[in-house]
């Protein structure tokens, strides 16, 4: 079914790209900080500093994922249905990882025991890593395609998605999150952690952006146009700038340049695949496009109004949150951990008897 993209459909394609970009940018660093609980942090106090840098904001960041999913459902139900059902197992894995991660952040400090904290540290680090990998794999497959039949259903079994592109996309998001997390830590902490995070950022940046660059290039070679190639060049320039600024010691500017690299890279990918939203590797006629997968103009129009009101609000209060929590943390800002003593040992203390 050949349907041309409507203006509203195209708008929503861009909106969903923006939501994914928002997710990768914001949760990118808290996924990275989560993984660094095991990779970067030295000792209990440092781990608590790391956790508290993302503490007030990680949950809000994760909602970008939910919104990207929900918006896809509302604006492109067939895209949502085909992609999510085809990737049943990796998405299940991602959900399990996200559950572990969320619970670990909230529960880690609630019991005063080393075994408890170590267990949740692993849950947080592995949960963050696995979630980043699965989301990356899913996004890569969205751009390179899945074996879909005419109804949009996956053909070929539960593991047919497992290919080089999936691994590449997974690695791209994991590596980006790791280095993005370091950049964030350099901005949010002070003292020794800040110095070390900054040093590690400069050291690992060239390697960490590599899989994302390869992914962008792979998509460009397949379906690129001149404007998506131009965005690719911008992305590469931003990555180099981030590294140079990092070496000079400008943490803030390096962070912004890295964000620009992500934004240009994501824009390059999305603009290269447009108007296809999910290619079928079996038959190009089965590919889902902005035109064939989108909701009615009525629904899209309604969603546009809601998004025009909602998104600026979200951005405003989220920016304000980052402003409220702008202070840098050090190991000294972390209060002493305390164990919860049951308030029922009274008779021993008072000597009173009932």
């Amino acid at each position: 079914m050949e349907t041309l993209p409507t203006a509203l459909g195209t708008t929503w394609f861009c909106a969903i790209a923006v939501l994914w970009l928002g997710y990768l940018f914001l949760e990118g660093f808290d996924l990275g900080v989560g993984m660094h609980m095991k990779l970067f942090a030295r000792g209990e106090r440092e781990r608590r500093v790391l956790l508290n840098t993302i503490g007030p904001v990680w949950d809000g960041n994760e909602v970008w994922l939910l919104t990207a999913g929900g918006a896809t459902f509302a604006a492109f139900p067939r895209w949502y249905a085909s992609l999510f059902s085809a990737l049943y197992l990796p998405l299940t894995l991602a959900l399990v990882a996200l559950i572990f991660r969320a619970v670990a952040i909230e529960y880690r400090g609630k019991v005063h025991s080393d075994r408890w904290r170590t267990a949740w540290d692993w849950a947080l680090a592995l949960g963050s890593g696995v979630a980043a990998f699965c989301v990356g794999a899913m996004l890569a497959l969205t751009t390179t395609g899945l074996p879909l039949d005419a109804n949009g259903d996956r053909v070929g079994g539960p593991f047919v998605w497992l290919n080089g592109y999936a691994v590449l996309g997974g690695l791209a998001v994991v590596a980006f999150a790791l280095v993005h997390g370091l950049a964030f830590l350099a901005l949010k902490t002070d003292g020794e952690i800040r110095t070390r995070a900054h040093g590690a950022f400069v050291r690992w940046l060239p390697l960490a952006v590599l899989p994302l660059v390869v992914w962008v290039l792979a998509v460009q070679v397949r379906t690129g146009a001149w404007w998506s190639w131009a965005l690719t060049v911008v992305a590469a320039a931003a990555a180099v700038t981030a590294w140079l600024l990092g070496r000079r010691g400008s943490e803030g500017r390096a962070f912004i340049s890295l964000a620009a690299f992500l934004a240009a890279g994501a824009a390059a990918i999305f603009s290269a695949v447009y108007p296809v939203v999910l290619p079928s590797t079996l038959d190009a006629a089965n590919s889902l496009t902005v035109g064939s997968a989108s909701s009615s103009d009525y629904t899209l129009g309604l969603m546009t109004v809601v998004a025009l009101i909602g998104l600026p609000l979200v951005l405003a209060y989220q920016v304000w949150t980052y402003w409220v929590f702008r202070r840098r943390l050090t190991v000294d800002s972390i209060p002493t951990a305390h164990s919860v003593v049951p308030a029922i040992v009274v008779r021993l203390v008072t000597g009173k008897s009932a």
Partner: protein, 546 residues
């Protein structure tokens, strides 16, 4: 079991598990917001303590709701892709709006509240909590709008065999949703009320048991009413001072009042909902009554093989004449259609056999049973009302018993109060199971007002499952998620119990310092202020730090 059966179990388990957390989050959030408001306005220290203690438990529970909510949103696409394709034009919108207009608000402002104790002015800090709480109510609204459309589709026309939204106003003001939203939020308040009541009772009982509070009989030999509660303190134990008594007594009485209000409210909204349901889904209500034959009486107890589907051996043991008619139409004489005559009607309207369409797989051609599993609907309906009524009755008794200022020494009464925490949870779970299972065999139940119209929309559950996904995949996720949920339930309950037993000091470590200072030293004379002076937390950046 085939993919459909497994997917239904998976959906049911995820939903019921998610809905263990959600009502406590909504109800307790509202209670904590009111407590902090009272604290900000009056400066009474017991309200600060209540805010911190109940707030801590609220947060422990909140995160579990967040974690399972993501599964809830994604499983439509994962396991129910045909459903998503069919309804996406109308069903996706409230889901996306929930994320954009409610989830963002909830999670961002809750982060501000948790970490903002020292960074935000009290009024602003309080506003952050209120905004988060309102966000969770808005989120409930959007989800129920989506669910209500499945119960009673409105605001659409059919284009190329699929519903397309034509009237967003109709979708968002669906009368099914407008009564379900208050019903659900009041149900959530009932959970919070029972929670406060049971835990506060435990602590008051503990104070008596430990000899902190005593009860003196003022005049020997007179009636039992002349007792006087002497509030004491245990200076060596964090937080167990006179203020502590006020914390628990006020929590208990607030909890009891909230539970009673919520029961009254759920009864009224539930009645409205029932009347709508007789109109919109008569089969669900007939099945809830195990009413096989037409009539006007309400069955309190029925026996027989309720699972036999054909109604051949169901017999009512106790009946209230006319009540069913009253529930449906506010009079005692209108004949209500029973399962048997409805089954014939449904067969005429929607077919006797599963359509011969590839999406139904092996099920094509099978006879359709329009009667939901009656033992589930019948007992689900009674469990919902029974548990709710039990909780309200317990709350009333608790108010009477505690009017003197403490709870009885009785250990079994304490155990009952703690056990009573679970009754409203049971009522909520039973309510959802009833309403979802009662809609079967439809995933989108037909709207009778549109019967015969070209725009009538309905979908059999059997057609909704993802055709491309294997049973093995769904089974894997069912097993993994169920095991994970079970493990996390253990962890959550363990944490809740630890913090509950820790008392207020578990959420306010600064109280421990007061206790330390008192340790071994002379007692400060008991001016009744408790630890008020010491309740200024150390000046650290992170008041509720991880």
């Amino acid at each position: 079991m085939d993919a459909l059966e497994i997917a239904r179990w998976q959906f049911g388990i995820t939903t019921v598990y998610h809905f263990m957390m959600v009502p406590l989050t909504i109800g307790l959030g509202l209670v904590v917001a009111v407590l902090e408001t009272v604290w900000v306005r009056t400066g009474k220290v017991e309200f600060l303590r209540m805010t911190k203690f109940w707030g801590k438990l609220f947060l422990i529970n909140f995160i579990m709701g967040v974690a399972t909510g993501i599964v809830q949103e994604f499983q439509f696409g994962m396991a129910w892709s045909e459903y998503s394709r069919f309804v996406g034009d109308v069903f996706g919108a409230p889901l996306a709006m929930e994320a954009l207009l409610a989830f963002f608000v909830e999670s961002t402002f809750l982060g501000l509240w948790i970490f903002g104790w020292k960074l935000l002015r009290p009024g602003l800090h309080l506003a952050a909590l209120w905004i988060a709480v309102i966000g969770s109510a808005v989120s409930a609204y959007f989800i129920i709008v989506a669910n209500s459309w499945m119960q009673h589709p409105v605001g659409v026309k059919v284009v190329d065999g699929r519903p397309v939204m034509t009237d967003a106003w109709a979708v968002f003001t669906n009368n099914t949703a407008l009564v379900a939203v208050p019903h659900t939020i009041l149900g959530a308040l009932g959970v919070a009320g029972g929670f406060l009541l049971g835990i506060a009772w435990y602590h008051l009982w503990r104070r008596r048991h430990d000899g902190i509070d005593t009860v003196e009989v003022a005049q020997e030999g007179t009636a039992r009413g002349k007792q006087r509660v002497v509030v004491g303190e245990a200076v060596g134990v964090a937080g167990r001072d006179r203020t502590d008594h006020a914390v628990w007594l006020k929590s208990l009485r607030i909890g009891a009042v909230v539970a009673m209000i919520s029961f009254a409210g759920t009864a009224i909204t539930g009645d409205l909902q029932g009347k709508l349901m007789f109109e919109q889904q008569p089969m669900k209500m007939a099945a809830a009554e195990a009413a096989c034959h037409d009539g006007t009486s309400f069955s309190v107890l029925s026996v027989g093989n309720l699972g036999s589907k054909d109604c051949s051996d169901v017999a009512a043991v106790i009946e209230i004449p006319g009540l069913l008619s009253f529930l449906a139409h506010n009079d005692f004489t209108t004949n209500i259609q029973g399962v048997n005559s409805l089954q014939d009607q449904y067969r005429k309207a929607y077919g006797t056999a599963v359509p011969d369409n590839p999406i139904y797989g092996d099920r094509a051609g099978q006879a359709i049973n329009y009667v939901p599993v009656m033992e589930v609907t019948y007992w689900g309906f009674r469990a919902m009302i029974g548990f709710g009524g039990l909780a309200a009755l317990a709350a009333l008794i608790a108010l009477v018993i505690t009017r003197k200022g403490t709870v009885p020494e009785s250990r079994w009464l304490m155990r009952l109060a703690v056990l009573g925490i679970f009754a409203p949870f049971g009522a909520n779970a039973a309510g959802w199971i009833f309403t979802e299972m009662g809609r079967q065999p439809f995933v989108v139940a037909p709207n009778p007002a549109m019967a015969g119209s070209v725009d009538q929309v309905f979908m059999f559950t059997a057609a909704a499952v993802s055709p491309g996904v294997t049973a093995g995949e769904i089974l894997t996720s069912l097993i993994v998620l169920t095991l994970l949920y079970a493990a996390l339930m253990v962890v959550e309950v363990r944490l809740l119990v630890t913090y509950i037993r820790g008392g207020v000091a578990s959420a306010m470590p600064e109280l421990a310092e007061t206790a330390q200072k008192h340790d071994g030293g002379p007692h400060d004379g008991g001016d009744g202020t408790g630890g008020a002076v010491a309740e200024k937390p150390a000046d650290d950046v992170l008041a509720f730090a991880y």
